[in-house]
């Protein structure tokens, strides 16, 4: 009797253990694989009825209107996906959130589904295992992207590998008030000469502002005599030979800057205020049509124009990424795909909507779309797309940025 019950008991335990282990086995098949074996139609089907929270920068009424209006309406109407935009002031807040959820063991039902992301945040989140992917290759509209474009395949030099999908392009432009400057300088060297000849009328946002950082990087390229040698992984020796020249240049420049370089505007927004109110005559911007939008809103005088250096300006891509614990991954992929739809990209590029550069390879689009893109109205403050693309130079990998930013704080700000 006793032996029998022990036997039964043991069998029960073994079966239970087997089921448990077997069940656990199933759980270890990651979500990613599930989506790899589904067809796009199946993904669209699963997305129906899902709700999506897209965390992104919320400081522009134009962008908000585009996302909450055009994008949300198409998602609802065509895919029955509900989109909720969550405005944040700073991307690190949602990176922090997802990280906290992962640490707390929340592997599903995450509060963040989709994020507008690039650069440093992408790398941090990718390395911490916070992103779902690789999903980009599953999107039908990815065909419109130029697969050979290394500035899309790499986010600040860090390989994307399908863990985020692009949806717009950015490129640095120099903004100036043509009523005050007349004919703007065309090279970095000319700009430096202009600054020395016109003291107090130029400045750049202090690092760690994103825009200030990219301006300094242009000067880094300038003293390095070109960017080609800098494109690889971080090279401390190389950095140490170039950096001192950069610090010397920036420190020599300080007395000719606004406020004699004793203080730098803390954010790009503050620099924009300075230009608007005539305290300085230049601005730096990552958004080629940003100045035009500000003119349309009345925040810049109508005489504002933009230019790029003959030696080129840095361009990059903005992406969306999906969090590892989102429970609306199918809907997220549908959104990412929709953003790459030529109609959506065209709408986004309209200067009265957002004016954001398209990330599509226009040359590969059907004829009618090519014509549409090429005939987009262009306000006077926006440069022609071919000028921009012919002058586009790549970003450096993140460790270079960190070294430059740290070096600026130590060698320029605190001197």
């Amino acid at each position: 009797m006793k032996r029998k019950s022990i036997a039964i008991f043991s069998i029960v335990i073994l079966v239970a253990a087997g089921l448990w282990a077997g069940g656990k086995q199933e759980q270890t098949i990651p979500f990613e694989q599930r989506y790899m074996s589904m067809s796009w139609d199946q993904i669209v089907q699963e997305a129906r009825g899902q709700k999506l929270y897209w965390y992104m920068w919320g400081g522009s009424d134009l962008i908000n209107r585009f996302v909450n209006g055009y994008v949300a309406e198409r998602l609802k109407g065509e895919y029955d996906v509900t989109l909720e935009m969550v405005p944040v002031t700073d991307a690190t807040t949602f990176a922090n959130k997802v990280l906290g959820e992962k640490q707390a063991g929340r592997d599903s039902g995450g509060s963040v589904d989709v994020m507008w992301i690039n650069g440093e945040n992408f790398r941090t989140m990718r390395e911490a295992g916070l992103l779902f992917g690789p999903y980009a290759e599953r999107l039908p509209n990815i065909q419109y992207i130029d697969a050979a474009d290394s500035s899309i395949a790499n986010d600040f030099g860090y390989p994307v590998e399908g863990f985020e999908s692009p949806y717009g392009s950015a490129q640095v432009v120099m903004v100036y008030d043509s009523a005050k400057v007349g004919e703007p300088p065309r090279t970095v060297g000319d700009l430096l000469d202009w600054i020395r000849a016109n003291p107090g009328k130029f400045t750049y946002p202090g690092i760690p502002d994103f825009t200030g950082s990219v301006f300094v990087r242009h000067l880094f390229y300038h003293v390095a005599g070109g960017y080609e040698q800098l494109l690889g992984p971080f090279d401390q020796e190389l950095f140490d030979t170039i950096a001192p020249k950069l610090w010397a240049l920036l420190n020599d420049l300080e007395p000719y800057l606004w406020r004699e370089g004793k203080t730098y505007p803390e954010t790009h927004t503050k620099l924009q205020d300075l230009l608007a109110n005539g305290e300085v005559y230049f601005d730096v911007s990552y958004n080629p049509s940003g100045a035009a939008s500000l003119v349309a809103q009345g925040r810049y005088p109508e005489s504002v124009r933009t230019f790029v250096f003959d030696t080129g300006t840095i361009g990059n891509t903005h992406y969306v990424a999906i969090s590892f614990n989102s429970s609306s991954k199918a809907a997220a992929m549908v959104l990412a795909n929709l953003l790459l739809d030529p109609a959506a990209q065209y709408q986004k590029s309209r200067p009265d909507v957002w004016g954001d550069l398209t990330v599509l390879n226009v040359g590969n689009l059907p004829q009618e779309w090519q014509e549409k893109f090429l005939s987009l109205p262009r306000p006077p403050a926006v440069l022609p797309p071919d000028v921009l693309s012919s002058r586009k130079i790549p970003e450096l990998q993140a460790p270079w940025l960190e070294a430059i930013e740290k070096g600026w704080t130590e060698n320029v700000l605190q001197k």
Binding site: N96, K270, N277
Partner: protein
């Protein structure tokens, strides 16, 4: 017995909420500051966060700035509150309207005041433009820097604007309860307005407005919203510094954020304890 039970029933709900939120929050903050953070797998117990924080280069400038802003804001607000209360207790034409305007700042949220102040006193703000119009300055850069500045002047202005009616109404209530008798007597004895104020009214007002002053000092000391919007990023006021540490992607900075919060809490609590000692001393002294 019945009294005891009814006492508990009356007090318990509110107490539970306060205990859980406040005491619980502080306790959890304290434990996290000492390194007990299961969320990042840290079960340690060490004062490292405090040491790193106190040794970090940003801490002392932040502390000094925060103390400076709080002292200036409280001092100016209290002074102006008493002055305005003295004028407002009289009867004059339009008193009702002026009183209403006087109380206006009480309802305006701090963020709105910060935005309005920025539009008023920045170098391209309304005051600067007026100064240009009347020829005081020739360029916007000649107008003094009052926001995003090293001393937090814009921040001080915001808090002064908000706190004057707060203290002022209390001062008015105190003045009303004092009545005019003491002043009358002082006048008959030959004292002028200033002497009457300094030696008769002021000592009577001070105990009444002291609690309010402590409140606004503590509030300004721990404030976040206004310095977040109007302050320079370095040095930042203490609450802003603690928030930045908290949202840092590097979760190892969390204990430091908690440590900062605990230090701020300790500072204001010690302040209140000192105040209670002093006020008890004053009460005994005047008895």
């Amino acid at each position: 017995m019945k009294n005891g039970l009814s006492l508990i029933i009356l007090l318990a709900p509110a107490l539970v909420v306060i205990l859980v939120l406040f005491a619980g929050g502080l306790a959890l903050g304290l434990s996290q500051s000492l390194g007990y953070m299961p969320i990042i797998g840290a079960y340690g117990f060490s004062p490292n966060a405090y040491l790193e924080l106190l040794g970090s280069p940003g801490f002392v400038p932040s502390l000094l700035l925060t103390i400076f802003v709080s002292v200036m804001a409280t001092g100016i607000a209290v002074t102006l509150a008493v002055v305005t209360a003295l004028s407002l207790r009289k009867h004059f034409a339009g008193k009702k309207l002026v009183s209403f305007i006087y109380q206006f700042p009480l309802t305006i949220p701090h963020l709105v005041v910060a935005v309005g102040m920025m539009m008023l006193v920045s170098q391209s703000g309304l005051l600067a433009r007026a100064a240009y119009r009347i020829g005081l300055i020739g360029d916007s850069s000649q107008f003094p820097v009052l926001v995003f500045d090293d001393l937090g002047i814009g921040i001080i202005l915001v808090y002064v604007w908000k706190e004057i009616p707060f203290i002022g109404l209390i001062a008015l209530a105190v003045l009303q309860s004092i009545g005019n008798d003491y002043e009358e007597q002082a006048r008959t004895l030959g004292a002028n307005s200033w002497q009457t104020f300094r030696h008769v009214l002021l000592p009577l007002i001070v105990p009444g407005i002291l609690p309010g002053s402590i409140i606004i000092f503590a509030y300004t000391f721990s404030s976040f919203e206004v310095p977040f919007l109007l302050g320079k990023s370095y040095p930042a006021m203490l609450s802003v510094l603690s928030y930045r540490l908290y949202i840092d992607v590097d979760l190892d900075a969390r204990p430091q954020a908690m440590a900062m919060s605990i230090l701020i809490a300790l500072f204001v609590l010690i302040l209140v304890v000192i105040y209670r000692r002093i006020s008890q001393h004053l009460v005994r002294g005047s008895a």
